[in-house]
C-alpha cells in the first residue's frame, strides 16, 4: 500500500488565479517537512479566469498535483465532493482556495488524526471577517446547528477539516451540504475533534457569500435532521410529527361532541369539522411515514453499513498498525 499517499490536500478554486500559486507554495512548505507522502487535489469549479491555466502549470511541474476541472460552476459542495472522490490519500484535508486558511495548521490536524479521531474540524477563533454580516449570523447558526444535529461544533463554516478517507468517501454529499459534513457524517457515529486554527483576512478577490443563505441553511439543517433520524425509522419520525395534530384533532372533536351532548345543542359543525381535518391530516402524515419506509427500503442507504464503517475504524485504532 505504499503507493497510496498518506495525505491528500483538497482545495476547491473558483476564480482564484492570484491565490492558487501562493497557496500551492504554502502547502508544500508546510507539509514537506512533516515527512509524510502527500498529494494535492485542486478542483476548479468552473472558473472564468486563469485559474485552470495556473493550476495546469503547477501540475506540469509537480506530479503531486492533480487538477479536477468542472465543466461549469457547480458550487462548493460539489467541488468538495469531487475532491474527495478523486483523492487517493488515507487522510483527506480540505481547505479554502482563498488563502484564508493557513496550510501551516495541517501539522496539527495530522497529529490529532493520529490520536484516533475520524474527523477533525478547524475553529477560526480569531476570525478575520466583518462582524455584523459574517460573524454574528455564523455564531447563531453554529449554535443552532449544534443543537439540532447533536454535533456541537463551534465553527461549521470553516473549510479546514480533516477526514479519514474510508469514512468520508461513503457519506453522501450533495446540494449545499459542505457546511454540514460533520453533521452528515454523524450518521456513521464518527469520533470528532475540534482544534483552533489561524484565519487570515482575504488578500485577493472578494467574498462570494452573503447573508442570503440563511434561509437555505435553515432548510438544509432540517433536511439533515430528517435524513439522519430517518435512516432507521421514517415511520416513527412521522408519527412523532403527527402527534400534535392528533392531540389538537382529538380535543377539538371531543369538545364539539361534549357541547352537543352536555348542552343538548346541535353539533357545532365548524368545530367538529376542524377536529376531523386535523385527525385526517395526522393519518396522512403517518401514511407518509409508511411511504418513507418504502423509499428507504428501495434505496441503497443502510444504517448497518455506516455502523460497520466506524466499527471497522475503531477496531483498526485498537489493533495498532497493520503489517
Amino acid at each position: 500500500m505504499n503507493d497510496r499517499p498518506k495525505l491528500s490536500v483538497i482545495v476547491p478554486f473558483f476564480n482564484e488565479e492570484e491565490s492558487i500559486r501562493p497557496l500551492y507554495l504554502a502547502i508544500v512548505r508546510a507539509v514537506e517537512p512533516l515527512g509524510v507522502s502527500f498529494e494535492m487535489v485542486f478542483v476548479d469549479d468552473g472558473s472564468r479566469d486563469d485559474t485552470v491555466r495556473v493550476a495546469t502549470e503547477l501540475a506540469a511541474t509537480d506530479g503531486r498535483v492533480r487538477v479536477v476541472k468542472f465543466r461549469r460552476n457547480y458550487g462548493q459542495t460539489a467541488a468538495m465532493a469531487a475532491g474527495i472522490e478523486y483523492a487517493t490519500g488515507e487522510i483527506l484535508i480540505t481547505m479554502d482556495g482563498d488563502l484564508q486558511n493557513d496550510p501551516a495548521d495541517i501539522e496539527f490536524f495530522l497529529a490529532k488524526m493520529a490520536e484516533g479521531y475520524d474527523i477533525v474540524v478547524g475553529w477560526r477563533f480569531n476570525r478575520q471577517d466583518k462582524l455584523v454580516s459574517r460573524k454574528i449570523p455564523s455564531r447563531i447558526a453554529n449554535r443552532l446547528i449544534g443543537k439540532v444535529t447533536g454535533v456541537p461544533i463551534n465553527d461549521n463554516g470553516c473549510s479546514l477539516k480533516a477526514y479519514r478517507a474510508s469514512l468520508i468517501k461513503e457519506i453522501p454529499l450533495y446540494s449545499e451540504m459542505h457546511r454540514f459534513i460533520p453533521a452528515m457524517a454523524s450518521i456513521a457515529g464518527p469520533r470528532i475533534a475540534e482544534i483552533k486554527v489561524r484565519h487570515h483576512a482575504r488578500q485577493f478577490g472578494k467574498s462570494k457569500y452573503g447573508l442570503s443563505r440563511v434561509y437555505k441553511v435553515l432548510l438544509d439543517l432540517l433536511v439533515i435532521k430528517t435524513v439522519a433520524s430517518f435512516t432507521s425509522r421514517p415511520l416513527i419520525w412521522f408519527v412523532l410529527l403527527s402527534l400534535p395534530l392528533v392531540v389538537v384533532g382529538t380535543s377539538t372533536l371531543g369538545w364539539s361532541i361534549y357541547i352537543a351532548v352536555a348542552e343538548h345543542q346541535n353539533l357545532p359543525l365548524p368545530v367538529a369539522g376542524t377536529g376531523l381535518i386535523f385527525l385526517t391530516s395526522a393519518l396522512i402524515l403517518i401514511s407518509g411515514g409508511a411511504f418513507g419506509e418504502l423509499v428507504y427500503k428501495t434505496g441503497d442507504m443502510r444504517e448497518h453499513h455506516f455502523a460497520r464503517l466506524t466499527a471497522r475504524l475503531q477496531g483498526r485504532h485498537q489493533g495498532g498498525t497493520r503489517g
Binding site: 503507493d3 493550476a55 506530479g63 487538477v67 465543466r71 461549469r72 365548524p270 396522512i284
Partner: protein, 335 residues
C-alpha cells in the same frame, strides 16, 4: 440495414411523428445540405407509430441511398423517446436531429454543423421567421416564461434541428415531450449550448389552430422544466417554501380567531373561517412532509446522483508514479 459503418462521422436522426411532410421531397432537401458537408454520414428515420404513408415514401429512398436505417416503433411514444430510440442505432460522433417536416432549409445544415467547433450543442433558430402577430406573441410568451424560470434565454425551442456531440445524449436522458427542452437540460449538465440563426423553410407554415389541449400541455411542460431545472435535487426548497407560506397564513388566521374567542367572546362554533384556517395549516404541513419525503428519496439514492460533471482531470503521472486513481488495482497485487 443494420450493418454499421464504424467511420461514420455524423448520424442524422429524423423522428417521424403524426406531423410530417412527404418523405421524398424532405429527404431531397436535407440531402442537399448534407452533401455540402462532406462528412461521412448515416441517416436514421424513427417512425413514431405506424406512419404508413411516410414509410411507403421511404422505400424508394432506401433503395437509392446507402447507410440508412429505419426504426419503426410499434406505437407512438413521443418525439423525445423516438429520438433516444434513434440514438441507440447511431454510431457517429456528431448527432444531428432534423424534424420530419419542413422547418429549416436543408441547405442551411452546414451552418449549424460548423457551429459545433465552439460548443457541445447547437440548436437552430428559424430567423427571419414568418408568422402572424398572434403566433409571435404566443411564442414570446412561452420563451419569456422559460427564460424567467430557468434564466436561460432561447428563442426557438420548438425547432427540431439540433446538432450535438454524442456525449450530450449519453448524459441527458429524455422522455415524453422533453425534446423541446434538450437545450435547457444540456446547459444544466454543463454543456456549452449555442443558438444559431438559420433560414426558415418556405414550406414551414403551420395552418392549423392550436387546441386547448396544446396550451395545457405547454403549461405542464413549463411546470416540468421548472421542477426539473430548479428543484429535483432540493425538493424541500420548493415544497418547504409553498408549505411554510400556506402554514403561515393559516396559523395567523387561526391565531386571530382564537384571540377573538378568548378576549372578545366571539364564539368559534359559528365560524366557518375556523375550517378554512385549519385546512390551510394542515395543507401546509402536508406539503412540508411531502418535501421531506422527497429529500429522503434523494438521500437514499444519492450515490447514483452526481451533482457535478468533470470536464477533465489534469495530471502528469510520469512525475510521481503510483499517484493515479487507476493504479489502485495494481496495488492490490502488491504483496
Amino acid at each position: 440495414m443494420s450493418q454499421k459503418d464504424s467511420r461514420v462521422e455524423l448520424s442524422v436522426i429524423i423522428p417521424v411523428g403524426d406531423r410530417h411532410s412527404d418523405a421524398g421531397a424532405l429527404f431531397a432537401d436535407y440531402q442537399e445540405g448534407l452533401g455540402k458537408l462532406g462528412m461521412r454520414h448515416e441517416v436514421i428515420f424513427v417512425l413514431d407509430g405506424p406512419q404508413e404513408d411516410f414509410a411507403a415514401g421511404l422505400q424508394p429512398i432506401m433503395h437509392d441511398n446507402g447507410n440508412m436505417t429505419v426504426v419503426a416503433l410499434t406505437r407512438s411514444f413521443g418525439e423525445a423517446t423516438a429520438l433516444m430510440a434513434g440514438f441507440e442505432q447511431a454510431s457517429g460522433e456528431l448527432i444531428l436531429t432534423l424534424p420530419a417536416y419542413f422547418q429549416i432549409r436543408g441547405a442551411e445544415i452546414p451552418k449549424l454543423v460548423d457551429a459545433m467547433e465552439l460548443g457541445d450543442l447547437a440548436v437552430a433558430r428559424r430567423w427571419p421567421r414568418a408568422g402572424g402577430r398572434l403566433e409571435l406573441l404566443r411564442r414570446n410568451a412561452f420563451h419569456g416564461l422559460i427564460a424567467w424560470i430557468t434564466g436561460l434565454r432561447f428563442r426557438d425551442l420548438g425547432c427540431g434541428a439540433r446538432v450535438m456531440r454524442r456525449r450530450v445524449l449519453e448524459e441527458v436522458s429524455l422522455y415524453g415531450d422533453q425534446h423541446r427542452f434538450l437545450a435547457l437540460l444540456a446547459d444544466r449538465q454543463g454543456f456549452r449550448v449555442r443558438e444559431i440563426d438559420v433560414a426558415q423553410s418556405a414550406q414551414d407554415r403551420f395552418t392549423g389552430r392550436y387546441r386547448t389541449r396544446e396550451y395545457v400541455h405547454r403549461a405542464l411542460d413549463i411546470f416540468t422544466v421548472f421542477f426539473l431545472v430548479r428543484f429535483t435535487k432540493k425538493p424541500l426548497r420548493f415544497f418547504g417554501m409553498v408549505g411554510a407560506t400556506t402554514f403561515g397564513i393559516g396559523a395567523a388566521f387561526l391565531l386571530y380567531l382564537v384571540i377573538d374567542r378568548l378576549f372578545f367572546g366571539e364564539g368559534l362554533a359559528g365560524r366557518p373561517a375556523l375550517l378554512l384556517s385549519s385546512l390551510l395549516v394542515v395543507l401546509g404541513l402536508q406539503l412540508f412532509a411531502l418535501g421531506l419525503l422527497g429529500e429522503l428519496i434523494i438521500f437514499t439514492h444519492a450515490k447514483n446522483i452526481k451533482d457535478y460533471q468533470v470536464d477533465k482531470v489534469i495530471q502528469f503521472p510520469e512525475m510521481v508514479p503510483g499517484n493515479r486513481i487507476g493504479q489502485r488495482h495494481d496495488t492490490a497485487h502488491a504483496p
